[in-house]
């Protein structure tokens, strides 16, 4: 069960993530951001509900649509936005933009610009945790598209054979870029594929914080007991296109509006908190206002940050010790 403290933490993170994504959208349309920017708006429940159950000792590997996971895992909005703007103060010193935010000190092994690229890396993180006898887990976040990559099969099989404390969280947002899941994927539920590895697989409503939270809690308990990995499929929907310039010819405006109006994960979870008397409307409004203010400060920080010095472009190709 979600207690008050956890509930408010999740609610706050969801707001921070949405504010970050919608701010990135605005900055992109104002030509203050460039490059490949994939927004997570509408999928916030997954990252927030999972990361609420992780400490800095737990590991994640994320995706090209990774801002939500990184913020959930402790990335600061200001340094993250600075990276999206290619500034020297960004997480990657302006070298990487949107798709490579990482912070090993927080257990974030990195967003990953290759579809399916992070799945074996999370698996290796779980291998390290097991070899170090740590009571922690690694989480591989990825989308429905990545579940058709070879790394999905190779990694989950390996983790199942070795009983690694790795949890595979599939964010099925209905589209691999523009291709709908029914056209690319042979099963009704991606979690059905768990049977191929002899491990549990569950499908939950990815816009329902409580459902994601409880599924992850069960998978985490199993992983820490040494019983191995679980696949959790979270069915969700991205409100924005695949990327910021997506003409969205593959879906209708009505479909998007329906998800926004009727299945907004933040609105739903806010109502749940009030109904369960875990929060008052006033508390929720205060959280939303604080997140918005933090985002404004992040924009100021990023806009006023210096450009990276080309003098240092060759730094860090190798660790020089």
């Amino acid at each position: 069960m979600i207690d008050k403290k956890t509930g408010l933490w999740i609610y706050n993170k969801m707001h921070e993530i949405r504010d970050f994504e919608e701010t990135a959208w605005t900055l992109f349309t104002e030509n203050k951001l460039r490059g490949s920017v994939h927004l997570y708006t509408g999928e916030e429940a997954v990252a927030a509900s999972v990361c609420a159950q992780l400490t800095d000792e737990d590991l994640i590997a994320s995706t090209h649509r990774g801002h939500g996971h990184c913020i959930g895992k402790g990335a600061e909005l200001d340094r993250a936005l600075a990276e999206l703007m290619g500034k020297a103060t960004g997480y990657c010193k302006g070298r990487s933009g949107s798709m490579h935010i990482a912070d090993f000190t927080k257990g974030n092994l990195g967003a990953n610009a290759i579809v399916g690229g992070g799945i074996p890396i999370a698996t290796g993180g779980a291998l390290a945790l097991k070899m170090q006898n740590k009571p922690n887990v690694a989480v591989a976040f990825f989308g429905d598209g990545a579940s058709n990559q070879g790394t999905f099969h190779e990694s989950i099989n390996m983790a199942a054979v070795w009983k690694l404390p790795c949890i595979y969280v599939v964010e099925n947002n209905q589209f691999g870029m523009t291709v709908p899941v029914w056209q690319s994927t042979s099963v009704e539920n991606i979690s059905d594929r768990a049977a191929a590895y002899g491990i549990p697989g569950v499908t939950v409503d990815g816009n329902d914080v409580v459902a994601v939270y409880e599924a992850f809690a069960a998978a985490k308990e199993r992983a820490i007991k040494g019983e191995g990995p679980t696949i959790i499929e979270c069915k969700t929907y991205r409100w924005r296109g695949h990327w910021t310039g997506d003409p969205e010819v593959y879906r209708t405006r009505e479909e998007v509006e329906d998800w926004k109006e009727n299945r907004d994960p933040i609105k739903r979870f806010g109502e749940y908190l009030v109904k369960k008397k875990l929060a008052t409307k006033k508390e929720l409004e205060e959280i939303a206002a604080a997140a918005a203010k933090k985002m404004e400060e992040a924009v100021e920080f990023a806009l006023n940050s210096p450009e990276p010095d080309p003098e240092h472009v060759m730094d860090d190709v190798f660790y020089e010790g």
């Binding site: 912070d103 092994l109 790394t151």
Partner: protein, 326 residues
């Protein structure tokens, strides 16, 4: 000093480094009971257990990716692919992940891992199990590339690789495993990266080569000596970093350069060496440098056909003589 084979030297270093540091472990196909196809981890599972000498599924992307993840999380994996040819199966994890992680994360990551495998001709393994691929790993920034040609170098370079905090691709040659040589007993014996070794001193022509072709170049040098030509043979030992200084100094002495490798000639690493040395020592060159490498043809199975694709000792001799206009 002990006389060991190249394979035994590698095994000795893996064993000593695993004794020294419990973060070091091996993962690869058949590394446990078989000890790898060439015995480089033979019986080590008895000492270290099957957690640290870890058999993997035949899943090259997951082997490399899991090593990157484990290295990110504080371990020091030695991941083994059975043949370097199989690196193509894991190409994303090698070139987009392993090689770039530190840089793209703004220098906030260390990936201390070794990716080992063997390559080359000589055992009739045909087109997809006989290639020499080290050039490709030199082309993509972010990995160090080591290519030992003797048992002592296999030991000294591998220990340096394991202790390095960067990803190192370690290129062994399948025909070298049974070769024997003296290996220092010192459990801290390391050979620094970026330091070429002059295998034979000479004054008339400089031959730069690596791996199996070191012995072939030395054979060629013997032949040349009979004709009164003194060849200097240099093994760079690591391609990344590359010791151009030693080659430059040699060419300034001899005025002639031949680079030969088993890797394909087209865009092979020898072309890079010739470019760099031509820029550094153009005025010292008395003849155009010559580049020898495998023909632009997949490696065939039949021994006669295979030999026809890769440079022969005679071709090395002839190339050296050509630089002397003889």
């Amino acid at each position: 000093m002990a006389k060991l084979t190249y394979a035994q030297a590698i095994r000795k270093v893996i064993q000593e480094e695993m004794q020294r540091d419990d973060k070091v472990f091996c993962m690869g196909e058949d590394c446990e009971k078989l000890g790898g196809v060439f015995g480089t981890t033979r019986d080590l599972y008895k000492e270290f257990g099957t957690d640290r000498i870890r058999n993997t599924p035949i899943s090259e992307s997951a082997i490399v990716g899991a090593a990157v993840g484990a290295a990110s999380a504080g371990m020091r994996p030695i991941a083994e692919l059975m043949y370097w040819d199989f690196a193509f199966v894991a190409a994303d994890q090698i070139f987009n992940q392993m090689a770039k992680t530190r840089y793209v994360f703004g220098g906030n990551a260390k990936i201390p891992m070794v990716l080992r495998s063997q390559q080359g001709t000589g055992r009739g393994n045909a087109a997809t199990h006989s290639q020499s691929l080290e050039t490709i790993f030199m082309h993509i920034p972010g990995v160090k590339v080591a290519c030992p040609s003797t048992p002592a170098e296999a030991a000294g370079l591998l220990r340096t690789a394991i202790r390095d905090d960067n990803p190192v691709c370690f290129f062994e040659h399948k025909a070298l495993y049974i070769t024997k040589g003296e290996v220092p007993d010192d459990p801290d014996f390391c050979i620094p990266f970026g330091k070429a070794d002059i295998k034979r001193e000479g004054t008339d022509v400089t031959i730069v080569t690596n791996l199996l072709y070191v012995s072939r170049a030395l054979e060629a040098a013997e032949e040349l000596a009979k004709e009164g030509i003194s060849a200097e043979v240099i093994d760079p030992r690591t391609l990344v970093p590359f010791d151009y200084d030693t080659v430059e100094a040699s060419v300034k002495k001899t005025g002639r350069l031949v680079v030969v490798h088993e890797a394909h000639k087209n865009c092979g690493w020898g072309a890079q060496v010739i470019t760099e040395i031509s820029n550094r020592a153009f005025r010292y060159l008395d003849a155009a440098p010559i580049h020898l490498g495998a023909k632009a043809c997949p490696l065939p199975f039949n021994p006669g056909l295979e030999a026809a694709v890769i440079p022969s000792v005679k071709e090395i001799v002839d190339a050296c003589k050509a630089t002397l206009y003889r």
